[in-house]
């Protein structure tokens, strides 16, 4: 629940703190190994997004991992997208799907051809 509350908070720094609180709660319970890991990843993603927002002056927070990667490719930052994908261990299959869709969206046919 603390985790869900975090979505109401506008300030990202504050939000990360709140998520970390949720993380501790999940950690205390043994049955929630999966959730714990997922929440951990969500923090990572959020931190990354904050960084991206600084770099590209575009909003990234609130997007899912897939959408983040997608958006990066559509703004011609494929290299950066690959990096994000690696740091959060996105499966190959999905990555290529995203890349394909994103390239089609920006009509980058050369990019599609070199896939």
């Amino acid at each position: 629940l603390t985790f869900l509350e975090s979505f109401q908070i506008n300030d990202t720094g504050e939000r990360i703190n709140r998520i970390k609180a949720a993380l501790r709660l999940y950690h205390d319970e043994k049955d929630h190994v999966f959730e714990e890991k997922a929440v951990e990843e969500s923090v990572k993603l959020l931190q990354l997004q904050v960084q991206l927002e600084k770099e590209y002056a575009q909003s990234f927070t609130g997007l899912s991992l897939s959408s983040t990667v997608y958006k990066l490719i559509t703004i011609n930052q494929s290299a950066r997208a690959s990096k994000v994908r690696e740091s959060l261990k996105m499966p190959d299959k999905r990555f290529w799907w995203i890349k394909l869709r994103a390239l089609v969206e920006i009509r980058d046919w050369d990019g599609v051809a070199t896939l």
């Binding site: 985790f3 869900l4 979505f7 109401q8 506008n10 999966f34 959730e35 997922a38 929440v39 990843e41 969500s42 993603l45 909003s59 927070t61 609130g62 997007l63 899912s64 991992l65 897939s66 959408s67 997608y70 959060l88 996105m90 499966p91 299959k93 999905r94 799907w97 995203i98 869709r101």
Partner: protein, 604 residues
């Protein structure tokens, strides 16, 4: 509104009149000119009860909230009941003493002659996720009201824990009534028309609503979403003339939101439209052909004008013109609706989803299905669609294998956002998306013993309810069939033998094994009147007996169609009246469980 009601032995019309009269009373209780502010959730259902003209006649004009305070006295009417919580809120706001409060008992709203609904959209989530049983209370109240009108139901059968709770509550309310209002309780007779009430709990059958509905009305609901028996379509479909001037226009204006919403238009869909009445329950596969036939007929009717030579002949034709124009209008609407549906059903995505779905419910196990779901996630199709198929897969297979389970959860979170941890938790709690614990598969046993999968389906001349999903018979309606058609040999339906009445029939007998496999309790209660009069007096005047089927937690249009089909099999000996808490489909069901997060960027 409601011209289409009141054509069966159970006079549903009277139910609506009662609701309407009460509304008038409620409104009359406030003196003078009135402004009416409606909760947007209410305007739809209300328009099914009373048309705008009626409200206007009562000196009501809709007004906005900015009207000067002080000039008005405020009255507040709670629908369907006032609760302690609401009063507390009013007290906290410090306005408790300043407003007049009242209640308007709006409960079961007749959508059709054979379809009543509480139109309470959130019941499914409330009941099964939040375990909030308020809706059972309202359902029980509504059923008690039906019993006051039509008499005690001789027999109440059902399946599922909440069904049982509903039944118990009704029985208790009857006992309380005997104490509080002896008169009313004694004057209420055993019902002569309704011989049974069958309550089916949504939790018993979660598979059916997740399947894509393949009837005409079902598909309209899947694609356009029917709300309070109105559907919003592109205005261009109906521009040439107002559709069904009488029934339609008045209903939608009174809803306050206006008839034309941007470029959308609200169109009523009910039995008042004869063509729709013919089409709604059919498998979509045959709709095109039928539309074509009707078009030809109407055309031929128009052509008759050339044959009209004599004055009386011409007059006759002109008399027919009105009806013809209306028919033409409705034909135009349904042809364009059907065209749009066709566009949708022709897409690859639709067909692949359907294929996967059919394989899943038929238990044809390959590893293609999970692969396709994975592909859907990769393509970032709307989450609701993904979950719908994934839940179906999980339900049918008694859960996902642990590795698969974690894989899909991770995929979904990464593709759609981490807030869906809660969505997944909701689905897990409901048992819709779970980790496999045993390999014992109840669904496949149930499927076999109730023959839910029928290979040979004739969509043109259906002989089994499975036509509605092109091969899958909805479990919920199969259960109803168990009760009703038991003890009667096929083909001798007209014989009226010992077992042909549900009241004296064998109930669930013969199906105990299957029922044990399904979740929740099974029950079979008989109601009596005090003076020891026999529970059910056999009637011989040839009027059909009526079974009330109550879907607690909502039902789909397809289930309605399937139940209507059951009635048609009974050769006029039995009718069904369907009651439900709300009409749902897989999308609305899953959507109610999806965790929503506020869009922070919208406020920035």
């Amino acid at each position: 509104t409601g011209a289409h009601l009141g054509h069966t032995s159970l006079n549903i019309d009277s139910l609506r009149d009662l609701a309407r009269k009460e509304l008038v009373n409620v409104l009359d209780s406030v003196q003078g000119k009135k402004g009416l502010i409606l909760d947007p959730n209410l305007s739809g259902p209300l328009s099914l009860i009373a048309e705008f003209a009626l409200l206007k006649a009562k000196h009501i004009h809709t007004h906005t909230r900015d009207s000067r305070p002080g000039l008005y006295t405020y009255s507040l009417f709670f629908v369907p009941r006032r609760t302690a919580l609401c009063e507390k809120v009013l007290e906290d706001e410090g306005v408790f003493g300043e407003i007049t409060k009242g209640e308007y008992h709006l409960d079961l709203i007749p959508l059709e002659d054979d379809l009543l609904s509480l139109e309470w959209d959130s019941t499914f989530k409330e009941l099964y996720l939040d375990q909030d049983t308020t809706s059972i209370y309202y359902a029980a109240k509504a059923l008690m009201r039906l019993q006051r009108i039509y008499g005690w139901f001789p027999r109440i059968l059902g399946k599922g824990d909440y069904s049982k709770a509903l039944c118990d509550m009704m029985l208790r309310m009857r006992r309380e009534m005997a104490v509080d209002d002896l008169d009313a309780s004694q004057t209420t007779q055993m019902s002569q028309t309704i011989d049974s009430l069958i309550i089916i709990d949504r939790s018993v059958d979660m598979v059916t609503p997740l399947c894509t509905q393949l009837t005409y009305e079902g598909l309209i609901d899947e694609i356009f979403h029917i709300k309070n028996s109105f559907v919003e379509v592109d205005a261009s479909l109906t521009t040439t003339a107002p559709v069904q001037a009488g029934a339609g226009a008045s209903g939608s204006t009174s809803s306050g939101s206006g008839t034309v919403l941007g470029k959308k238009k609200k169109v009523p869909l009910n039995g008042g439209d004869k063509l729709f009445g013919e089409l709604r329950d059919l498998n979509f596969a045959v709709v095109g052909g039928l539309l074509n036939k009707v078009a030809k007929r109407i055309n031929a009717d128009y052509e008759q004008r050339h044959n009209a030579k004599t004055v009386p002949q011409i007059r006759e034709f002109i008399n027919k013109m009105g009806g013809l124009a209306a028919e033409h209008q409705s034909l135009r609407l349904h042809t364009s609706l059907a065209e749009q549906i066709m566009d949708y059903t022709m897409t690859d995505d639709f067909n692949r989803i359907l294929e996967v779905q059919q394989n899943v419910v038929a238990g044809i196990a390959t590893n293609k299905e999970p692969e396709y779901i994975e592909e859907m996630i990769n393509k970032q199709v709307p989450l609701v669609q993904v979950l719908r198929l994934l839940c179906l897969y999980s339900l049918v297979n008694n859960g996902l294998k642990p590795k698969q389970f974690d894989f899909f959860k991770k995929e979904i979170l990464e593709a759609y956002g981490y807030e869906h941890i809660q969505t997944l938790e909701n689905l897990r709690r409901l048992g819709m998306l779970t980790k496999q614990v045993t390999t014992k598969n109840t669904y496949s046993l149930v499927r076999r013993s109730l023959s839910l999968i029928v290979d040979e389906v004739n969509e043109h001349a259906p002989n089994d309810i499975s036509y509605v999903y092109s091969g899958y018979a909805p479990l919920s309606v199969r259960l109803v069939q168990c009760v009703v058609q038991r003890g009667k040999e096929p083909g001798t339906a007209a014989g009226g033998g010992k077992g042909s009445g549900v009241a004296g029939g064998s109930g669930w007998k013969g199906f105990e094994d299957v029922l044990r496999m399904l979740p929740g309790r099974t029950f079979d209660e008989k109601q009596r009147v005090e003076d020891g009069q026999p529970t059910y007096t056999k009637k011989s005047n040839g009027q059909p007996r009526i079974s009330l089927v109550f879907f607690l937690g909502g039902c789909t249009f397809t289930e309605v169609s399937a139940t209507r089909f059951l009635a048609s099999q009974e050769g006029g000996l039995r009718d069904f009246v369907i009651c439900t808490t709300q009409i749902l489909n897989g999308n609305t069901l899953v959507d109610s469980l999806v965790q929503k997060v506020p869009d922070l960027h919208a406020t920035v």
